[in-house]
């Protein structure tokens, strides 16, 4: 490891603010990039499944 304390890691000789803000924003964007399609797919499956059950429920009422 290049740095000898946590303080040094955070400060990075005065460049800490720049380096860490760049990394934090990047992590947020990358996580969003993966989380967005995941949520969208789960929501779609749930909605389609729900519509399907309602459809089947309605169908049973008719046949009964």
């Amino acid at each position: 490891m290049y740095f000898d304390s946590l303080q040094a890691v955070l400060e990075m000789d005065g460049h800490g603010m720049f380096v860490w803000s760049a990394y934090v924003v990047t992590v947020i964007v990358l996580v969003g990039m993966v989380a967005h399609p995941l949520r969208r797919r789960r929501r779609l499956l749930r909605d389609i499944g729900g519509a399907l059950r309602r459809e089947q429920g309605a169908g049973q009422e008719v046949t009964n």
Partner: protein, 247 residues
């Protein structure tokens, strides 16, 4: 060979194979990103001229490289969808656009934050930076154009044309640091001739570039899977999947 193309045009097959690839690729990608970032942030020596601010290179360069590569993917998918009317190519083009936009944004943002301690300014209307900003607008243009049309086919055609016309920008981005006097430094990694970067810095950088490529692939496959479900919502295979509650 033809049966492969036939399968490629089959939504349930594509959905399934994308899921199988993701099961392995996504964990590997996350590990590679974490290892690469920790390596670059904590285990490399600072640059002798820029000090520690140079550590932004481990996200800036991979994001920029993959943002550019992603444009080829999007434009190629656009060409296939335009010429052969292949529906899956359209799904691929629509999946690539928001990821490209996100990565271009990351490249611009990290570049800006790197510019402040290095050049003394957050932003400069430099050829490289301006052409990357145009790339961001091209990606966002494709995303917006999809939303602007009610007719799916017209939307796909317009987006394919826009992404192909936008290809003009790609060589400009590559060559911008050589053609114009620029604040942005020229490429440090060269395929021909010796790279002007020390190998202790090169290895974590190469790892991060590879990881970003994998992340692009993962996000694109995930976008395609969601898009396939939406487009095929009325078909038997999607209904079966939804009824099973499979994820």
């Amino acid at each position: 060979m033809w049966s492969f193309f036939h399968k490629l045009g089959s939504p349930p097959w594509l959905y399934g194979i994308a899921g199988s690839i993701l099961r392995y690729l996504l964990p590997v990608t996350v590990i590679a990103l974490v290892v690469g970032a920790v390596w670059g942030l904590l285990f490399t020596a600072p640059d002798f001229r820029q000090g520690n601010s140079y550590r932004i290179i481990y996200i800036h360069v991979p994001a920029a490289v993959v943002a550019l590569a992603g444009y080829y993917v999007m434009a190629a998918a656009g060409a296939v969808s335009l010429i052969w009317r292949m529906k899956m190519a359209d799904v691929a083009m629509k999946a690539a656009a928001p990821i490209g936009a996100a990565l271009t944004f990351v490249a611009l943002f990290t570049g800006s934050v790197w510019g402040k301690p290095t050049w003394g300014t957050w932003w400069v209307w430099d050829a490289r930076i301006t052409s990357m900003l145009v790339l961001l607008f091209l990606y966002l243009g494709v995303v917006a154009l999809y939303e602007a049309f009610d007719n799916k086919e017209a939307a796909s055609k317009a987006c394919a044309v826009l992404s192909l016309v936008g290809m003009v920008n790609i060589p400009i981005i590559y060559k911008s640091v050589d053609w114009w006097y620029s604040l942005h430094q020229p490429a440090s990694i060269k395929f021909t001739g010796e790279s002007t970067i020390d190998s202790s810095m090169l290895y974590p950088l190469l790892l991060m570039i590879t990881a970003f490529y994998c992340l692009f692939a993962c996000a694109m496959l995930m976008n395609m899977r969601a898009e396939l479900l939406e487009r095929e919502a009325k078909t038997g295979w999607v209904r079966k999947l939804a009824a099973e509650g499979a994820h």
